[in-house]
Amino acid sequence: MKKLFVLLAGCLMSLAVFATGESEGVNYIDQTSTIDRFRELERMDVTSERDPADPNEIEPISRELDDILGETQALEDTD
């Protein structure tokens, strides 16, 4: 039983280390320039493919919303 408590205490210390790591991480932003970070963000090529969804995952919309979409489409089709 004692060993179990020791292990749990160790676990809590590990979590504390995690928390400390995160708070130290904030300094990372302070230490590196924001402009350098912007350059890193810019290198991310945000271009994913669009795959069709599982129809079961698409939530149905109300009749009112469907009507608005239809009216809008009708106006765009006349353009």
Partner: protein, 220 residues
């Protein structure tokens, strides 16, 4: 035996603490900069202000509105009094009907001596030409702003998809409970559905948030 159980428990606890948390709008420690500080983003905000002024004129007098904008104007007028959740569902469906154009093959653009790979687009440009995930997310943001949703309730979020190993973008909505993520396939992702993603950074008119500090072993 009890030692083994304890070790497994510790491992599970540590693993759980390291797992990607739900997206939070309350993360001041991840604030990176003002929206005006990043040129590609501030530039699209400035360009979209012109679109917003044009749409305001269209709403005021739809008969004097250019024909190609009457559809979106009609949607704005009809949707302004809807409940937030219906506005979000409507805008998600409407923007997702645009032509999906993957811009991976497009060349980076030169802006003030820097090469910029993702060219953010204002609302009316995406509605007329289509675009890909970040264009759809941005168009939903701008259109929901036209419907009166405040800037601080939304963020365009760039994510790393750990399954397809691609960067992706979705619009996140703060509903007061879990954040809603508007996907390009008409689904709205929440909670567990987002586990395959690692949040990278977020944008709105007020700021830029950097989520990289919470990444777990991403290979860029």
């Amino acid at each position: 035996m009890s030692q083994r159980c304890a070790l497994i428990g510790v491992a599970l606890l540590v693993w759980g603490s390291a797992a990607q948390a739900d997206y939070s709008f309350d993360n001041p420690e991840q604030y990176l900069a003002d929206a005006a500080d990043w040129r590609p983003w501030s530039d699209v905000l400035r360009r979209n202000a012109l679109d917003s002024a044009l749409l305001a004129d269209c709403v005021a007098n739809i008969d004097r509105c250019p024909k190609r904008y009457r559809g979106v104007t009609h949607l704005i007028v009809r949707a302004r009094d809807l409940a937030l959740e219906d506005q979000v569902r409507l805008v998600n469906r409407y923007v997702n009907k645009r032509r999906y154009r993957n811009d991976r093959t497009s060349r980076p653009t030169l802006m003030e001596g820097e090469l910029h790979r993702n060219q953010w687009r204002p609302l009316l440009e995406t509605l007329s030409r289509g675009g890909d995930c970040e264009d759809f997310a941005t168009a939903k943001y701008f259109l929901l702003r036209e419907l009166g949703i405040p800037a601080d309730a939304m963020r365009v979020v760039v994510l790393w998809d750990t399954k397809t190993r691609d960067y992706h973008a979705m619009l996140a909505i703060d509903t007061g409970d879990v954040a809603w993520f508007l996907e390009t396939d008409n689904t709205i992702q929440r909670g567990r559905q987002l586990r395959k993603y690692e949040f990278q950074y977020s944008l709105n008119e007020e700021g830029i948030w950097d989520h990289s500090l919470t990444l777990q072993g991403r290979e860029s």
